[in-house]
């Protein structure tokens, strides 16, 4: 396996230009998401989905400014963040896929083989980030491939390539983690205490994300789960409980027949 590649998305320099979102659609020839004015700041596409593999979130944080207080120059923030599949170390989608359509590539990324996916939709419910989605018209599940095709051709993913401010950085995951640590320290030194990394720790619930983020607020503010856990972590326990229930079924039926034999005789 080649080096594990990943994304470090530094939202502190994201300008919300959506070039990543458009570049992704262009490269992957994705359908549009419909034309609906959502009135949620500048976000009219809402979330990641079958047809949107990069999604830029816009969060306006402004407190009402008393107009009379002329000395107040306002503390407003407009957070922007480009979300993407996390390419989890322990990827629930991949774990639960019953067909092997989802696989781990030589770059350590998680990719769906569209010709094998049978659209069972299991991955959709398994993903703790709500990334993957089934496209209704073709019945298959879709998500970011971290531009597997481009990577194989020695190119960086389209979204990272298009990002003007290097908010999306692509590279070997180890390097990115180092860079991210430095960046957070720098921001902390500059007084941005709220800067934090999300998904970079190999100790987290998904064993570390292959696409991790620098956020300026709590993850849920960006629509991200605060403490996602790969669902298969509890799988052994689940089987144990199910096994116990199975035994109970057998037992219950046995008891029923045993008891009703008496009844039958009566």
């Amino acid at each position: 396996m080649a080096e594990r590649m990943g994304f470090f998305t530094d939202t502190s320099v994201c300008i919300g230009c959506k070039a990543c979102q458009v570049a992704c659609k262009e490269w992957n020839l994705l359908p549009d998401d419909g034309f609906v004015f959502e009135a949620n700041s500048y976000d009219n596409t809402g979330a990641l989905g079958a047809n949107t593999w990069r999604h830029v979130a816009f969060i306006e944080q402004s407190r009402p400014v008393p107009v009379d207080d002329s000395a107040d120059d306002g503390v407003e923030r407009w957070l922007m963040s480009s979300d993407v599949c996390k390419h989890c170390t322990h990827a629930a989608c991949l774990d639960v896929c019953p067909t092997g359509a989802l696989f781990r590539t030589e770059f350590g990324t998680v990719v769906i083989q569209e010709d094998i996916c049978n659209g069972c939709g299991y991955c959709v419910s398994a993903c703790p980030y709500g990334v993957i989605e089934r496209r209704e018209d073709d019945g298959r599940a879709w998500k970011c491939t971290m531009c597997y095709d481009r990577q194989r051709g020695g190119l960086e993913p389209a979204c990272a390539k298009a990002c003007p401010t290097d908010s999306i950085q692509f590279g070997p995951l180890d390097e990115l983690r180092e860079r991210a640590e430095e960046r957070v320290e720098r921001l902390h030194a500059d007084g941005q205490a709220e800067a934090r990394l999300y998904g970079e720790s190999p100790d987290d619930g998904v064993g570390g994300a292959g696409a991790f983020f620098l956020l300026l607020d709590e993850p849920e503010v960006y629509g991200l789960p605060p403490d996602p856990v790969v669902t298969t972590r509890d799988l052994p326990a689940m089987w144990r409980w199910a096994g116990a229930a199975a035994l109970s079924v057998a037992g219950a039926v046995a008891v029923a027949f045993a008891s009703s034999r008496k009844g039958a005789r009566r």
């Binding site: 049978n118 709500g130 403490d227």
Partner: protein, 295 residues
């Protein structure tokens, strides 16, 4: 009531995607799996205990349940033509993969068992098959709980302890009900007991689950899912009660069997809906995770 949780979200949008499994396919499949699985066990026991009529009913119910369930499963796929891709791999981390194998085995075995029973050809093979379904049956009835629990859907995942019992109970009740309904009343005694036990297990598991889940249990109580779960509880309890007193009364048996079947279906529809609800509101994703982090 759980007090209104304070939490932040992105325009109140869900964090998770809703389950794709559609009504009625998904819940009906869960019901049929349970019916088939427990029916198989009943067939085995009936065989041993000489309840011939009941054995026959159970064999047929198991086969129909499995076949129809598989049909629904295929229909549920985004690309049904690719159903066989399920059997390309054997993947222990995927309950659906395991389930496919279980269902395949259950379907094949119960199919053989039922057809030998009905045609009278190769009865020994049929008996062997029935014996084997004594193994696949209980799994067919309960693996579906793992299938649902092994997702990020809060109301399912967090319920992984009780769901198997809920489904087991519900399956017992379903199979018991069919056994009661489709067997001459004289031979249906064990089926009635199975039904009563199922009703008890289902009811207890349901209550325990909702209690333990706290906030994440809320979807089982509120809205559409709540209605279904309540209906399920009434139907199941009522059906169970009726079954226990039905004796040889035709009317009471019929009422009981229908109530239990309806109850089992309501449970499955309720569970599916609760899962959907728990993904639709980011609260159920964010608050428990926050609380988990806080400890």
């Amino acid at each position: 009531m759980v007090p209104e949780a304070e939490f932040q979200s992105y325009y109140g949008r869900p964090v998770l995607k809703p389950p794709v499994w559609k009504e009625p396919y998904g819940p009906a499949y869960l019901y049929l799996g349970g019916l088939s699985g427990v029916s198989s066990v009943m067939a085995v026991m009936a065989e041993f205990t000489g309840h011939d009529r009941l054995a026959r009913t159970a064999r047929v119910a198991a086969a129909i349940g499995a076949a129809a369930g598989a049909g629904l499963l295929v229909a549920e796929l985004g690309r049904p033509a690719r159903f066989l891709n399920m059997l390309r791999v054997f993947k222990p981390t995927s309950p659906m993969s395991m389930g496919s194998w279980i269902l395949a085995a259950q379907g094949a075995l119960s199919g053989v068992a039922a057809s030998t029973e009905l045609t009278g050809i190769l009865p020994a093979v049929g008996d062997a098959a029935v014996l084997a379904t004594g193994l696949t049956g209980p799994l067919t009835a309960t693996y579906t709980a793992v299938l649902l629990a092994d997702t990020a859907v809060p109301a399912w995942h967090e319920a992984y302890r009780e769901l198997p019992f809920l489904f087991a109970g519900s399956a017992l009740a379903s199979a018991g009900a069919v056994g009661m309904l489709a067997t001459p009343r004289a031979q249906a005694g064990p089926a009635r007991v199975v039904a009563v036990m199922g009703a008890v297990v289902e009811s207890v598991a349901g209550v325990v689950m909702e209690r333990r889940l706290g906030l994440v249990g809320e979807p089982y109580r509120l809205g559409k899912a709540g209605g279904r779960m309540r209906a399920a509880r009434v139907l199941t309890a009522g059906g169970g009660l009726l079954a226990s007193i039905a004796g040889r009364s035709r009317t009471l048996t019929a009422l009981s069997g229908l109530a239990l079947t309806a109850g089992a279906l309501c449970t499955r529809f309720g569970v599916l809906e609760a899962g959907r609800t728990s993904t639709a509101d980011p609260k159920y994703t964010i608050v428990p995770q926050r609380q988990r982090q806080a400890v």
